[in-house]
Symmetry: C2
Subunit: 164 residues, 2 copies
């Protein structure tokens, strides 16, 4: 199939828009790093606008469930006044863990876009493929590697500084 110039332009625009959302998630991740938290950030988009922005707050809140994705899901549900987030997309700088991937199924999120893979704990391609498990009552679309280098660098820098 040949792709004409119009389709090319449209795909480029879509890609640019995706990057805008991931940069918003990266901004959240940097805020986490400034507070000494593992730098992971997330935003949720519905109806063409960002309805939730959050970063990892496990240490500050002393709460094992306070990952960026979980806080963003709670915010988005409050914004939409519903636990169902049909049609929503989550952008997150790091591949979601089992807890967060399971929560994305619970929330009926339509699509998940992540930056850096997490070979040790990732549940969206690395250790598990949660969003693609058709035995569950919901599946979601999955895309990894958007702005991967920037997302990974933030984590590498954080752990390097902590070791020093």
């Amino acid at each position: 199939m040949s792709v004409g110039p119009r389709e090319d332009a449209s795909a480029a625009e879509e890609r640019a828009q995706e990057e805008v959302y991931m940069r918003a998630a990266l901004k959240q991740a940097r805020a986490a790093a400034e507070e000494g938290e593992v730098p992971v950030g997330a935003v949720i988009v519905a109806g063409g606008r960002i309805i939730a922005r959050a970063y990892n707050q496990r240490e500050r809140l002393k709460d094992p469930t306070a990952h960026a994705e979980m806080i963003a899901l709670t915010q988005a549900s409050a914004a939409l006044e519903s636990w169902r987030l049909d049609g929503a997309t989550l952008y997150v700088t790091l591949e979601p863990c089992l807890m967060c991937a399971g929560a994305l199924v619970q929330a009926r999120v339509e699509r998940v876009v992540f930056g850096a893979p997490d070979p040790k704990a990732g549940a969206c391609g690395s250790l598990y493929q949660v969003g693609l498990d058709t035995r569950l009552n919901h599946t979601f679309e999955l895309q990894g590697g958007l702005l991967e280098a920037e997302c990974a660098e933030l984590l590498h820098d954080f752990f390097r500084d902590r070791r020093d």
Copy 2:
């Protein structure tokens, strides 16, 4: 190996104590049913006392993350002022889903005891065996079937009433 009367008595005492904790979780589950929520309840025990009691509040809070186990984990972390719940045991009336099982790994819970299995979404024996996955940075002991009939009946009654 033969088991003497002393061991028998000790095992019976332990079983009785386990049932006390699961009955506390069942009480939480009944509170959920009274509010029109899917009746699942959980308690967390540490140092020989209950430090968290919670029930499913997904509808009331309009929050997909508001399962009984998640709320109990947040409560327990607040009680211990730490996201690490080393040595803690969670008692829950229904087999945990992926989100909750992943959260139990995040919280470093030592042991999980559940009542009824969940063949459609359970991640502690039914669809997944999350607590036994040695690739993750924590595993937990797992026991299913404690007061299973009572835990399952509560759910059956709830869904039967809702269909009528």
